[in-house]
């Protein structure tokens, strides 16, 4: 028996963890979902481009009017397409008749960029039609400067990674361009409140997926924190509920794993500025990023808190 045949025995006996199968299935599922989402997104862009072309042709004589009409049509097209493609958006609109007329979160900027280092696909949201222009200016400025920073950081990382590949003897063939994607999702909106999530993902390392949460009280012109929506006992409410749900998830499926307290797992939220969003059931959903409370394969963790909101 050669030494390699001997070594193969140890190799074959490496114990495969129980959660492997679940990790594999979940990853395949997630990737397929992502691909479908991308397909829908491309469709959406093509559709609105079409509207643009038609509009240009028919409105040629009146230039001022044309640009106004274009903007109107573009807004309308985006709105319609959003309604059709973004399930939760459509659902949110149906469920809340009071706002059927006016949407408050829009895409103000959408761009794609492709070069040898990275492929960027960004949608920048902004709030509008709230009747509170100070609030709009402040929030929109914050969003757009945050997104600029995030893209800049991601670009730098992509560049560093490319240089590392080249420095270690790789060629450009070995380098897969970093895909940087920024998109948002409206999770709740009515006349008084808007809640939406901006998600940034970078393909080189899934650990670099990050989310930013906006929960806005339009009337009072401020961002809501957990104390505002759950009251003074917010910490106790959240801690108990999250802990209970973690235990339930681990009991219901042995592949669900969370870090213990000793391993740096969940040991209570720090303060009222913990990440959360408001969902279509008008409940607060606490969010932990990948690796925050569980191993990487568990992904981002969401916990809906059953208590009624006090807003």
């Amino acid at each position: 028996m050669s030494i390699f045949e001997k070594a193969k025995m140890a190799y074959d006996s490496i114990e495969v963890p129980r959660e492997l199968e679940d990790t594999v299935n979940r990853t395949i599922l997630d990737s397929n979902v992502v691909q479908k989402r991308n397909a829908v997104k491309q469709n959406r862009v093509i559709k609105s481009n079409k509207v643009f072309k038609n509009a240009t042709r028919t409105n040629r004589p009146l230039i001022v009017f044309r640009s106004f009409a274009l903007a109107l049509i573009a807004t309308f097209a985006l709105f319609v397409v959003l309604l059709n493609t973004n399930e939760s958006f459509a659902k949110a609109m149906q469920d809340i008749p009071a706002i059927a007329g006016i949407a408050k979160v829009f895409t103000v900027r959408e761009y794609k960029e492709e070069n040898e280092t990275d492929l960027i696909d960004v949608k920048v949201p902004a709030i509008q039609n709230t009747g509170n222009s100070d609030l709009e200016n402040r929030i929109n400025y914050e969003i757009s400067s945050k997104i600029n920073d995030v893209i800049e950081e991601a670009r730098t990382r992509a560049e560093e990674y490319k240089n590392a590949v080249l420095a270690t003897g790789g060629t450009m063939d070995d380098y897969i361009p970093t895909r940087i994607n920024i998109d948002y999702k409206i999770t709740y909106q009515d006349d008084n409140f808007i809640s939406f999530v901006i998600t940034k993902s970078e393909s080189q390392a899934s650990a670099y997926q990050e989310q930013y949460f906006y929960n806005i009280d339009i009337q009072n012109g401020k961002e809501l924190n957990l104390k505002d929506v759950l009251g003074a006992d917010y910490k106790q409410i959240v801690d108990e509920s999250v802990e209970k749900q973690i235990n339930e998830r681990m009991e219901s499926n042995s592949n669900n794993m969370y870090f213990t307290k000793e391993e740096g797992g969940f040991s209570g939220i720090e303060n009222e500025y913990q990440d959360f969003y408001i969902n279509e059931n008008n409940k607060a959903v606490i969010v932990f990023q990948k690796y925050e409370v569980a191993p990487g394969y568990m992904g981002i963790q969401n916990f809906e808190i059953p208590n009624e909101l006090i807003i």
């Binding site: 001997k6 025995m9 199968e21």
Partner: protein, 165 residues
Amino acid sequence: MAAVAQEILIEYIKENQDKLYKIAYTYTKDKDLSLDVVQESITKALEHIGSLKHEEYVKTWFYRILINESIKSSRKNKKLEEYELLDNVATDKKYDEELIESIDIYKNIQKLNEKLKTVIILRFFENLKIEEIAYITKTNVSTVKSRLYKGMEELKKSLERSDCI
């Protein structure tokens, strides 16, 4: 074509997941890191399967991604030099003399440099052909052969050293 290749890929991954894990483990020496490598490789492969021109290369193409990810992860996490492989071996086999010798050799293979280790894993653990290994490592047949030879030499040397101790 892309849809067919994707199906072949998914089927291949599902059927060979244990193998994929063991390859990743040979580089990372850590359970969670290996799970992350498998996950990252699947995501990357499914994302780029459209760029694969010939579906008969699905398997070797995926090996290439998996090995790149494994190397990347092991470079990032160099800390795990000493660890207990026996912890990761099924309990009923723990006291087998032959297995203990086998583990010793395996650990020495893990210590080889990335290039030598890669050809040894693919050739002797995964039973791939020299041509396939050349494709995966983006080299040619004679480079693979010389790495196998060099890997064998270095492995023997390091085993002799550990015998002395």
